[in-house]
Symmetry: C2
Subunit: 671 residues, 2 copies
Amino acid sequence: MDIAALRKAHPEHWMRAAAIRTLTLDAVAAANSGHSGMPMGMADVATVLYEKHLKFDASAPDWPDRDRFILSAGHGSMLIYSLLHLTGYSDMTLEQVKNFRQLGAITAGHPEYGHAKGIETTTGPLGQGIANAVGFALAEENQRARFGKKLVDHYTYCIAGDGCLMEGVSQEAIGIAGRHELGHLIVLWDNNNITIDGTVELSDRTDQVQRFKASGWHVQEIDGHDPEQIDAAIEKAKKTKKPSMIACKTHIALGSSAQDTSKGHGALTSADLIRDTKEAYGWSYGPFEIPDDVKSQWEAIGKRGASERQAWEARLLEVSGSKQKEFARCYAGDVPKKLSATIKALKKQISESQPKVATRKASEMALEVINPIMGETFGGSADLTGSNNTLTSDMGVFGPDNRKGRYMYYGIREHGMAAAMNGMALHGGTKAYGGTFMCFTDYARGAIRLSALMGVPVTYVMTHDSIGLGEDGPTHQPVEHLAMLRATPNLNVIRPADAVETAEAWELALASKSTPTVMALSRQNLPTVRTDHTLKNQTSMGAYVLAEAESKRQAILMATGSEVEIALAARDLLEAEGIGTRVVSMPCWELFDQQDESYRRKILPAGPVRVAVEAAVGFGWDRWLFGERGKRDKGGFVGMEGFGASAPAETLYEHFGITAQAVADKVKSLL
Amino acid sequence: MDIAALRKAHPEHWMRAAAIRTLTLDAVAAANSGHSGMPMGMADVATVLYEKHLKFDASAPDWPDRDRFILSAGHGSMLIYSLLHLTGYSDMTLEQVKNFRQLGAITAGHPEYGHAKGIETTTGPLGQGIANAVGFALAEENQRARFGKKLVDHYTYCIAGDGCLMEGVSQEAIGIAGRHELGHLIVLWDNNNITIDGTVELSDRTDQVQRFKASGWHVQEIDGHDPEQIDAAIEKAKKTKKPSMIACKTHIALGSSAQDTSKGHGALTSADLIRDTKEAYGWSYGPFEIPDDVKSQWEAIGKRGASERQAWEARLLEVSGSKQKEFARCYAGDVPKKLSATIKALKKQISESQPKVATRKASEMALEVINPIMGETFGGSADLTGSNNTLTSDMGVFGPDNRKGRYMYYGIREHGMAAAMNGMALHGGTKAYGGTFMCFTDYARGAIRLSALMGVPVTYVMTHDSIGLGEDGPTHQPVEHLAMLRATPNLNVIRPADAVETAEAWELALASKSTPTVMALSRQNLPTVRTDHTLKNQTSMGAYVLAEAESKRQAILMATGSEVEIALAARDLLEAEGIGTRVVSMPCWELFDQQDESYRRKILPAGPVRVAVEAAVGFGWDRWLFGERGKRDKGGFVGMEGFGASAPAETLYEHFGITAQAVADKVKSLL
């Protein structure tokens, strides 16, 4: 690469981009770890994007109508930290940049949502960013239709690397974006032909241009170091009605001795290399030093969007007061005031009519009253709409011809769906939920973890939550998934026992602001067990006494979801023998854990034998059977010990011994 | 669709295919559940494949050089059950077909590996089969190079549906196959344009032909109901040197009133529909009745490969005795006799030299002595070769120019890698291992579960197994993953404490025949804690006493992996205060659980305070802290309570309080 020629061709641009490159070199050297090569390679693209296209105002990072910039290749975090610092985001001080990758700094190894303004999503696990970007673009399209172009009209830009494009989730994202003609989505592919193991050819020879075109994308190929080509390509991409991919041919670790090598991907910390590279750049400044003229050019870029932002604010004031309020409510993530009364009314009606329905159906019943009063919900399913019961009558189906539609047929793309949901939630203004079979949380796991890590309140509607799904067999029967999800920090796993608990679960999920929810819902019909209407949301306590012992309390049965029915029947058997038995419904361990100790002791007092029943592996139940107790006690678990089998549901419950009799027998064996 | 014309054009073919279609209708009706449409749509393709191309002998289903047939669209299980029954696989009786989806039958809802001969892999979770198929084809290429064309020369056929192709893992598989020019892989795409939610266009408009071509595949497009086109296309596909995709345009639920609809995807059980459909087929037989002429044609197909199989057996006898033995050993999955001595020698050397190395490096040290004596190992990494330490000096890199190479650069494709590993193990003759960061088990989770469910002994080399990875931060730091994996049935999670335990772990993983292994390995250096050489593989017990209390035993510390060092240091602190402390190293809970109760009580006797330390969430530890005890005791856990952070590893251990002092303090607080 002829650096001198690049410098000469666009001297001012060169220095602006060099500021990113040298901050990167200096920060990685200071941390003695990190990834230098990607920011050095993509600095030109990022510079032109921020300078000429990205609609943003560094002084108002939360402006709802800003363009979103997503660094899917999150290892190149110094690219975004440099951009945020140079353009004047107030929290991204030079001190923070100097503390790159140190404890407490907002400049983590990979960009972490919530650490600094301007980081729109957490990236690092490859492919997530591009799939989040699809969600951002979906939210924008949908809200543009809902609130009008005056309030919502912006682009989503995403820098993706070879790693992002090799991850399968990227194909799901590309497919969704192509199908739905997300014209405001522009992906800038850092086409540097290098991965950690070597050149891309070692593992892939996919023609990415043809691949994107095959899914309906507009594609351009440019020299990623030529600011004029970059500018023209972005300009063109903004005008097309398809999602755009711009293949930017770049040199990783540009201008260093590690250029175009996998060594350049990692941390370039050699003092000699840094000195030589800066010399090649014509950069004669000290570590972390940005000359005033370059700094002021960047600061001007950071202020470029101020007038546009002010004009938007003026437009916001022009729309009706109710629209302003609704817009503000949706962006605050607040539920409407009437949600509470709506849920209470539904609960009352259920307690009275006592339907015997599957909780997946109960979820639909809840959504049927929720969706009409919450225009910000956006539902979908990974090709199991009729099974997940996720589509309600008022939603409309989203597509190029119906941008107001609030339901998405995601196709068989659990991972892409989950990552898009994260993107929608991060965009703001939209509450996303999506369904698949509980067992296929496996496929979406990479994105579910990020929901939890980022604290975005999306809702996973996971139906067919046990062997109760029956004949489809062990590939479709979750047994370890409740444990997996419960082990994940900051994730509420709610497994409601009936339609009342399901309604309560939805109220909690929608009101949550920083914790995602997984609903574990049954395929099979379940009786209404909450036959006494309560105004209080009992599920919010995590666990509560559903049925008290009639005779002297000798046993406590704990159960969730479809096994609460079994626990109640076991209680009948035990009470008939004079064994006083309490039944505790435990729809959400995490919420129970958050109650104070006195409440937990009230629900699970020391003394009685404890038996838990759940159609899943017992992993984790010891916490409630033994872990919280100061007294010697006994406990037992009735559930699965391994994978399921293919047979009708009732047969399986018998076969695996998950029955009222087995629970009663277990209690008696412990007494 | 003009069924009459189809019948007339190829009457004998038609009846053979109709046998599949009607068995499907009858079995689904009997079960009152299942998926009728796919077998009805793909019956022509499958019939031609089995009749004219698939190299198999129904009387010798384990013949190593048979072609492999993989039904990636596993919901269409009646297709394969019909084929196996019709061609005369002895276990697939008509009784089994009649018991479709019933408890104990080998005809589960989705094809389950191990249930019936001829089911090469468990499918149902979409996209897995096509990704397994890549592994089968890899194993075939590699073994063809290793053992010669006389012993190994067969094809892998895979039927994939729209769902398989929408799942991201398919893109990873397509990329791997294209890159490595797996010419013996032939994918038959059931291009029926229908998913559960409706037409494919609802969620996708990807041009699959262009997509496959973009990754280097040979692609043909045919009428999937024309036996001549099917035959010619397969013939051509076999001759190309690229992997082949044949887009078979088909009609789901062909000939029924549900044809070409998503209703046709599911269970067609209406008696009227079945009667009308059979009438359209010209099929005048009773339920499950196959006329003799059709049956005998199919049986002849089932015997078609017998002479070829006999010729192969003769060729096997022609090769050298040592080659025969090696071939048999590899297919039996037996480790070579000298493995045990090799591992013992390595352990001895480590115990003496006491290196301070990361367990990922220790894993490389083990592989450096294993790979030269086990020609059947096939390693790889999802673009983290230098970090996972998976490549040893003798392996050679697999590729079109080096089919003998035993190392694969999988690219950034954790899921595709894991599914390919499953395929290699299922193929037989190859022991696959592959690496990524522990945190990215998330991406591979769909395939890891199937390793466990099928019981295929692949080895996941998961390095950077805790906050000990340092600066990369929470996106790269597993905290819940040990719990997730431990909750999964039939999966050995081994987290070795030092290089000795790592060598032992490899010995166990390689010797395992029906349980996959996840190795959780550290990034950071760890001291050798097993300084006294033992011939016995202590890791095989799951947990053992590493250091006994010197003074009266008041505490037991339990730890795994990198925290064993911390437990030992805590013991020093406690012993210095006269608190006798035992340290139990627990590299593998699952193996410990398999020991008899007396051993477990010996290691974890009642009485002393128990404290566990692990740099992960405590989920599941209550089992060992409280669950196994008949006496009132106290226990505590020192570990993580949420996600990690970005900082140097030592800083993080301090920050999260995972230190010897914290462990000692915890013990003292409980005494």
